[in-house]
Symmetry: C2
Subunit: 212 residues, 2 copies
């Protein structure tokens, strides 16, 4: 605070706390709570290990901060379904655009969330409960209303949701695998895959499944 100069640090606008959180996000997403190392986080943030404990008492509290942030952003994407002025399909298209851009920015987020949910179901249960209260996340209810008033075809709404999530998140999650398996078949991931192509592909799936 009282430092008159700013040597050795390239990012003067980032506070130490923010740098730590960014580093923690990166490392926790890669290795999870269990596998992440405090030294790794400190190195990534470019600061000392002891400072981690100064800002966030201990490892678990630091992890909670990161996990809460990730989960909040994840649920935020579902807000669009509360907008009853748009058609069901329009809302789905907006959701597809948003969630794919979200995953493009945080490719490991879905794996991170899935993994930590699997390790700690009780914690997630409670957090979902809060998110549900505040945001009324209801993809499935929107679909079922749309089926009742004939706006879309009659489908298995749960399976549709599962398919939709699969198409949108898996490519980012599995990119290291696709990179190599495409290369082995004479294709190039960086060339053959991008977010816009994926968006179009998922929208085709929606059009086909829900009807014109």
């Amino acid at each position: 605070m009282v430092k008159p100069y700013n040597q050795m640090k390239q990012l003067g606008d980032n506070s130490t706390e923010e740098k730590i959180l960014d580093a923690a996000k990166e490392v926790f997403m890669k290795h999870g709570l269990y596998g992440a190392r405090m030294q790794d986080i400190a190195d990534t943030a470019g600061i000392n290990k002891a400072l981690l404990h100064y800002y966030f008492r201990n490892k678990e509290k630091m992890f909670d901060k990161v996990f809460d942030g990730a989960l909040a952003k994840f649920f935020e994407q579902l807000d669009v379904f509360s907008n009853n002025e748009l058609s069901v399909k329009k809302r789905l298209f907006i959701y597809i655009d948003n969630i794919i851009e979200f995953y493009a920015e945080y490719p490991q987020m879905s794996m991170f969330i899935i993994k930590e949910i699997g390790n700690n179901p009780e914690i997630f249960k409670e957090k979902v409960h809060v998110a549900k209260k505040n945001k009324t996340l209801r993809l499935i209810h929107v679909l079922e209303d749309g089926m009742k008033n004939g706006e879309i075809k009659k489908i298995d709404s749960a399976m549709f949701m599962i398919n939709l999530q699969s198409l949108c998140s898996f490519p980012f999650l599995a990119s290291p695998m696709f990179k190599y398996s495409l290369k082995a078949q004479g294709k190039d991931w960086e060339k053959d895959f991008n977010s816009e192509k994926l968006k179009q592909s998922v929208k085709n799936f929606v059009e086909f499944t829900l009807g014109k």
Copy 2:
């Protein structure tokens, strides 16, 4: 070997080595090489920690055994594409049946493989190279041949493969998440999802995408 009795062990037909490998598979799949604990593996196998080192020198060698087995089973599913006597679509349908049954049995396998590939790209590169040599994995080439002779519609083969993999593996990988997000919306994962439903759903996608 010279033990005349078999107290305390419920599975007499399983050798210690197999019990360790089963336990190791379970723990490594959950936590990865990094996060897995030898004590955890020993407890799961119901034996002592020292025995792990007796059978498999060290942690990494044990992990390699598990990872190699997983990868081999994974690539095995691609064999069907080498059978040129079947139509493209028939081969795809068989693949879908097989890979979904495979994931149903090893739900965490795809996450395990993806994660470890991400952590150790060089190792995977080499293993894929071997698998490629022995098994001629060519989903994409099969598709492109089918397009040339008019058997299927002209499509983006790389994106099709990505979509297909997404639909088949993500539901198993993300089941902890789906379990809670479905429950929050008044649905029940155990009731609304099963392998047969998923197979049909993916086949519908294939029919739609490749044409009748």
